[in-house]
């Protein structure tokens, strides 16, 4: 599994593993923040169980002199917080992995060479400070010390982080992190760990965001004024983010009684003129499907964020998968147009979400943003997003007296009015309707209305976001993927260092980019990579291009791909090719 060795000491992968409730997430946040503010590139991603206490969860934090953005299997440092930890990440332990902690955290039956273990009495130090709860802060300190963060920063960050706590607690946390820092620094100085990560002042000013925040920011940038949703992992973060912004931004965030209410509220708000969205996950989205069809029939914009997780049914609530593409594509009875985005990284999650709002309004359709738990829960630093690259394009008109909501036009798009804005009256109807939105059984008109709605696809197709070709345009082998696999595959290709392999990544999966076939045709060999079991993008590509990508890299155990895994899989395919 461990394709790369830890020789390259300008980059380190730290893994924290413990039970739910042991505060790993706090450590993750503090570390990411401290590291980034110190000028290190950082990427943090986690995998966790669907429970509030106990079990075994892990977080990986990559710290580097260069930009990092993808899950690795490799662990340079492992800090286990409970006995189950080593078993939990067993397969990822290599000859170079160094475990930090008391000997007794390593299970008796576990063979770990002495050189791979550095004894740190976390609990004992914590008790001295004031209790076991400081263990994780000490650990954070150790990590910061081993990579050589400037100590000055840390105190301030801790102060800010715990600002709502008592003086005493803040003091103790500072003491804890300092204690840890000293231990870490001593490891570095003594050469027990050999990291030489350089920091860059530029990084300090960058953003540090996770996928949920990026989608939330994108929504604000897209002019979202109304979000109604029902909590569901892993999509809840977007609702939480917007709820936190309510004090500064004019936005209604309402927790609905169920997903059906959520989508119907969102469509209602949009009808009345407030850009609206819902955030949900597979099972919740399944309940919204009649509502999607409603939006299609009313021609009322709505943005639907689906944070994908493994199904069917409840499945694995806190895990990741890319298996709701087809559900989004074909959701809703009857036939009407839509757009499906699947951002590949945090920056795209921001820009595509804001774009989703403009396109939903422009074409008066439902627009989907498909992310997944991996993207939503991963943090990284990235160049400061530029709000001025975004714009809320207005497509609402002031109505005149004779206004007709569904006026038949050449491109199928009727000027959209909202009630209470202008002289006109604005009706919308879920039955088949005439131009004034009144129920009709005129079957000639019915056909016109179907054509009107479907005709919008022509304009929609003209604005498709093309896929990105990563690598040389002179490829022999082309790997195709979508959504959150972007950075992982990118890094895997860098790792492989083969000029003849490129990566075609789709940020927009529907309508599928017209030139897709040309890209595929050019390759001698096509490979598709998806975090699902049935290759849903592959099917969409086949449907649109007639081309069947038979070589598939699929993963559906609930985890995201790691860089090493992708490297290995590609190598396997290449070696088969050669025999």
């Amino acid at each position: 599994m461990n394709a790369r060795r830890a020789q390259k000491k300008d980059e380190v992968s730290v893994v924290l593993c413990g039970e739910a409730g042991q505060g790993i997430q706090t450590v993750e946040k503090i570390l990411a923040q401290c590291l980034k503010l110190s000028g290190f590139h950082v990427f943090a991603t986690k995998e966790y169980m669907s429970r509030v206490r106990g079990g075994s969860n892990s977080t990986e934090i990559r710290i580097s002199s260069k930009r990092v953005s993808a899950l690795l299997d490799r662990m340079d440092l492992l800090i286990p917080f409970h006995k189950g930890a080593l078993k939990h990440v067993e397969k990822r332990i290599s000859a170079d992995t160094i475990v930090l902690g008391k000997r007794n955290i390593i299970p008796e039956d576990f063979r770990l060479p002495e050189k791979n273990h550095i004894d740190i009495p976390f609990s004992k130090i914590a008790s001295e400070i004031g209790g076991k709860i400081y263990v994780n802060i000490i650990a954070a300190g150790v990590v910061l010390g081993t990579v050589g963060v400037e100590q000055g920063f840390i105190t301030n960050i801790i102060k800010e982080f715990f600002s709502k706590k008592s003086e005493d607690i803040i003091e103790k946390n500072i003491e804890a992190i300092k204690k840890g820092y000293e231990i870490g620094a001593e490891l570095l100085n003594s050469g027990k760990v050999k990291f030489a990560i350089s920091s860059s002042p530029k990084v300090k000013d960058e953003n540090l965001l996770n996928g949920a925040e990026a989608v939330g920011l994108g929504a604000l940038a897209g002019g979202c004024k109304f979000l109604s949703s029902y909590p569901m992992s892993p999509s809840t973060g977007v609702m939480v983010f917007l709820a936190q912004q309510m004090k500064d931004f004019d936005v209604v965030v309402e927790q609905a009684e169920d997903e059906i209410s959520a989508i119907n509220m969102a469509v209602g708000a949009s009808y009345a003129g407030a850009r609206s969205m819902v955030t949900t996950s597979g099972g919740g989205f399944a309940l919204m499907i009649e509502g999607v069809s409603l939006a299609g029939m009313l021609e009322t914009p709505v943005v639907i964020h689906i944070g994908q997780r493994p199904g069917p049914a409840t499945g694995l609530p806190t895990r990741t998968e890319q298996a709701d593409l087809e559900l989004a594509l074909y959701s809703g009875h009857g036939e009407f147009p839509r757009i499906v985005f699947a951002p590949g990284n945090i920056k795209d999650a921001f820009f595509l979400t804001q774009k989703a709002f403009n396109l939903a309004d422009k074409f008066q359709i439902p627009v989907f943003v498909l992310t997944d738990q991996y993207l939503i829960d991963s943090f990284m630093n990235l160049p400061l997003l530029d709000a001025s690259d975004t714009r809320v394009e207005n497509y609402v008109i002031r109505t005149d007296k004779g206004y007709k909501r569904y006026e038949l036009t050449k491109d199928g798009i009727s000027p959209r009015g909202i009630p209470g804005f202008g002289e006109g009256l604005v009706g919308v109807d879920s039955d088949e309707h005439d131009e004034e939105a009144h129920i009709t059984e005129d079957l000639v008109l019915r056909k016109k209305m179907v054509d009107k709605r479907l005709k919008k696809l022509d304009s929609i197709r003209r604005e498709v976001v093309p896929p990105e070709l990563v690598g040389s345009s002179d490829y022999r082998i082309l790997i195709t993927g979508w959504g959150s696999t972007y950075n992982v595959v990118r890094e895997a290709l860098r790792e492989l260092g083969r000029e003849d392999i490129s990566f075609l990544h789709f940020n927009q999966v529907y309508p599928l980019y017209e030139g897709t076939r040309d890209y595929l045709k050019k390759a001698q060999k096509n490979i598709i990579i998806e975090n699902n079991a049935t290759s849903q993008l592959g099917k969409l590509i086949k449907l649109n291009t007639g081309m069947d990508i038979e070589t598939k890299i699929l993963k559906y155990n609930g985890l995201a791909f790691s860089v090493e895994e992708v490297v290995t899989e590609i190598k396997k395919i290449l070696s088969k090719e050669n025999t």
Partner: protein
Amino acid sequence: MMESQIYEMGDIDIAWCPGCGNFSILKILKLALSELGIKPEKLVLVSGIGQAAKIPHYFKTNFFNGLHGRAIPPATAIKAVNPDLAVIAESGDGDMYGEGGNHLINAIRRNPDITNIVHNNMVYGLTKGQASPTSQIGFKTPVQVKGVFLEPFNPLALAVALDASFVARAFSGDIEQTKDILIEAISHRGFALVDIFQPCVSFNKVNTHKWFKENTYYLNGSHDSSDRGNAFQKAIETEKLPLGIFYKNDKKSTFEENVGVYSKNKEPLALRKEERMKKLSNLIKSKR
């Protein structure tokens, strides 16, 4: 007072059966709204699917004719993003109490300032005569072949139990009284449920105009609509079914008041031109 003509659609084909109670409700609602001086441009009728739910098509105003059972969520949202609009959610008993039951509960909890009018004909009209949640025990239909045996749904008792801010029952056959009840309901600040008994001449041969006349009576002046326990007792009466305003709770704040976006600025959210760029930049910058 405006003329109720203002809501007329002119010469249109109405899909209801001759003699249906829906005609009266349509007429009464127009009367009530014109008496209240609510202009068509400032009104939104929100409905679901069913015979009753066709009402927006016979009404010159803004409307949102949504999905079966889902009138309340869009109505709530419309009011929240534009409180300047008068919003009425109107549908049949199947729509509001069957498919939409969960939304009714939660509309009462949210207390948006909307009026919820339910045409209660104790049957599914549009789908041709199956039992509705309010169908009486023993009511026979092609699906309920041995007659209904489920306890009829009691919307008034439920509303009082959840402390709804306005709870009333009316009868489509009584123009004046029903108009008065609707005027009070629409004027009321907060969620107002008005259940209106409505004869369905095609599919309900039991609960006819005559039956409603004989089995109802009006709450008299001594009924204290601020007393919840009392309202409950009236709501569970079955011997004869009381009509009138059962319960009112004027002390509740509305959903729009609570959502936060109107605490400083009264302009409807939907119409507000917000300058986000700077705030957004600041927010982005804060995420470092």
